[in-house]
Symmetry: D2
Subunit: 298 residues, 4 copies
């Protein structure tokens, strides 16, 4: 018998992920802080809860897809919290991106409540989320991962087993560190080419003509060309994730000097009110640093 | 009638490039500073010159594939220099990586000698060089590029027209800036994953499972795993190219804060006697910065 | 009547500070984790406690001079903790360097226990501590600061009122950020001068001949010359304080790009097992980064 | 008999320096690109030349106080150049700040013309220049320095002998590197203190209460408080000098990671049209990077 799945957080990513769960025949209950984001579920067979607590009391498995530790604490605890009532859920899967140390603390707290815990952030953005093509970085007990694999594969194409709880989150930090590097690196290279007088198309053709090309560059090319950055993955979240990544690196004794340079750029974007744009808007941060008096800066 | 091609600099890249020219039926004369590197040509139909001057007096088109401005100045000028004698060559194609400002000065000097000049660095390393799969970033007069295109396509699969002389070099700077970024970024992400307890294979699988994957990561994966860095593109050259790139960026008024962080790493590698290894050995620079007392640093 | 003062943490700084309190006629009880460090008090009129709890039950005013939040938590809480028993102390003065957010949380906890709290870190090292020449950066209720000023002036020459609780700590972060900058800046300038062929004495004479000279440069000159760094202020603590400072800056929205560069250096020193040396040993971190093959690097 | 001194470059620094020479009884001829800057000399006994060449043909000793290599090349060479005519000058003293490698090339060129050369940049700004209180960092032949010492001491209070030609310039690079570090470091510390809620005066009092205080901080305090930066030493020149310093460091194999961070800030200021302000306006560069939405950023 398929389990009853409670899904908390139906935003850019959580919405298509939960729809894919529903489409696989699971019984689904959703909750979202902004009520508007759950309206569409009413036409489907999914239930829409009024509180996280209602989800926790109904579901066998609770999935979280939220913006970070604060949002998770807010839905789990408190009067209306998912773990406050007569919690039915025996398994919690956190798919939100959070720091490893938070993950480990959450896992310990859940153990006290006899709730099994998987740490399962994803790589990929809205489009693979819609297509069930996410990659899931799973940390936790190996048997529990196996048990949950069919559910996870409703949302993704692949489950990578990262080791114990915390290592899924750690791997996600590393992934986003590389993601942020590639994006900022592309922007600096484009700016150097453009500043030297080459047209945008020629610069991109040259950069993408060899072993440096990757899917990301294809996904972001139009944004860079049109200087328009509708959010797929908001810059604010990249800034936050890099903050997590550098904190983890500092604690683990790993030097990340390039990461430090990146963080300052994305954070600058967030501080300059670009936080709601796509993280490719790091281009605007770099553009603003160019010599305004130079022809080349354009 | 096919032209007589003089090729100066038959090192890691120049050797397969010149062989491809020969294989297309061109008449070829080569010269290399280290005589040992030209021995193999004697079994083919190619001529081996004793001095650069001999090449300049024989060839219609002179191609340079050298390590930088100093090496170019050394082969062109002086008693035995390629442009000192009764130079026959009416076209010079510089395929070496050099700064745009050097390229522009060289172009001006050649104009005084009524020698047409193309600025045509390549992207790609030894393997695409062997397969004729290089991408050629050509700067110079458009008609001259068209005239030379068959010759260029003997060495590469594509000629990207970058604009006037200097812009081929500039585009190459931008390309190598991105190349250096991706390599260092991969190493920091791998170290963060490894430092968090994940096995190397799992980290690479996760990093390469989505839109970040690129040919480069495939090419370098074994080097990283085995901590062994036989040079395809020596770290010393990456350090030098980044120095050029940052100088160009500074002159053009382009901010490259991530590039600054990179440069310090690759230069450190060169200063730490890793210059002859592949540039992926930037991993060793980062490893040496990790906390030696931490388990996680391994 | 003079108060009974409990002093917890009689290390490099705390020892001379507490002795100055005793010398002003206050009744003193001390406690230190390492028992050896309190032996000398037995010849004076001071009491030596067996546990922090004993100090808390005896003193009117409790002063802490410890290495950071963990050490403070360890002496205040737990079975033997200074605030666990029938605490007599009605005022707690924390003179340790800690992050502002920790200070604010500690202040709130003490308020619940009806214990007045001053946040009073100091600037200056062992020598001014011995001479009662410290500068005290006091945060807290203005009347309480006035009440405690005679006691504070037993240890220091000046009390700077920084505002509410937390702002003493914040000012100390800013001070140490500047301290770390001056030290690292001096080392880079010395290395550049030395690497250009000038003798150490000439470089120092030139750097100190104008408006850049400061007491710090005098204090550290011998260490730099002799490449020997007996700890006055251990490098490990500088690394820790810069970590605090950058975290505070990040939270407050203050950009500190120079501070980021510094932090990486001092942390590197700590990771390279220089943590117990004086923070001037950042020179060794920089020296190790120089080109080993260059004459100039010496 | 006192020599005839030719002084080229009577700007912010050169004007008071040349007046001090005149006041010591030397015969003086001046030239400046902007004619307005030499008007005041006509009331004194000094001659005002129409061309640099006129100065070179008249003076025994030629002193240069210009903005850099380009300006020096412009006054020495060409039809109207100081070294083009029947040059009388047998000694040239360059007091401008230039890179060591330029100095060495200039020295070699002068040797060919049998003109003795001193490399003698100064530390100190307008005020010490007026008071004859500069410190002169002299590179060159030791006997020649001794011979010129009375002339140099007309402008300064101290001559520091730095070694052969080039090492005066090198020492000046190192000095300005430290100057730039202290200024930027002060600004970051002030911003961290201010962002934490402390008043400007309190922050400055605390930062200046101990061994960190230096003359520079006194000189710049008003500028920082009033956010008004009339140029004593223009930010553009600091950016240029740091560019020189980092290039020298790179060539000598000296790591200057803090210097790299500084350079990016001062260059940003120059690119942001702050180049004509005092270099203390690096504060404005940092302020612009703060989180605009934070109260703390003010």
């Amino acid at each position: 018998m398929l389990q009853k799945i409670g899904f908390i957080g139906t935003g850019i990513m959580g919405q298509p992920m939960s729809v894919n769960i529903l489409n696989q025949g699971y019984d689904l209950m959703v909750w979202n802080r902004t009520i508007g984001k759950t309206g569409l579920y009413q036409a489907t067979g999914a239930r829409v809860a009024e509180t996280p607590r209602e989800v926790g009391e109904w579901a066998d498995v609770l999935i979280l897809m939220l913006t970070g530790p604060e949002a998770i604490d807010a839905v789990l605890a408190g009067d209306r919290g998912a773990l406050t009532g007569k919690t039915a859920a025996r398994t919690l899967i956190n798919m939100s991106t959070v720091p490893p140390d938070y993950t480990i603390r959450l896992g310990a707290a859940l153990q006290d409540q006899k709730i099994a815990f998987l740490d399962a952030p994803v790589t990929g953005t809205r489009k693979p989320a819609e297509e069930g093509g996410l990659v899931i970085l799973a940390g936790g007990d190996a048997e529990k991962i196996s048990e949950m694999e069919p559910l996870l594969l409703a949302m993704g194409k692949k489950v990578i087993r990262c080791g114990p709880v915390g290592q899924g989150s750690a791997m996600k930090m590393a992934f986003n560190l590389l993601l942020g590097t590639l994006m900022a690196g592309l922007c600096e290279a484009v700016n150097l080419g453009r500043g030297s007088g080459l047209p945008f198309d020629t610069v991109m053709e040259a950069l993408r003509s060899g072993p440096l090309d990757c899917g990301l560059f294809g996904l972001k090319s139009d944004m860079l060309e049109q200087d328009d950055f509708p959010a797929q993955f908001p810059l604010r979240h990249m800034a936050k994730d890099l903050r997590f990544a550098l904190k983890t690196a500092d604690e683990k004794g790993i030097a990340t000097p390039v990461g430090q340079a990146l963080f300052q750029l994305y954070r600058q974007g967030d501080w300059d009110a670009l936080g709601d744009m796509d993280f490719a808007a790091v281009k605007k941060v770099l553009d603003a640093m160019n010599d305004a008096s130079e022809e080349g800066a354009r």
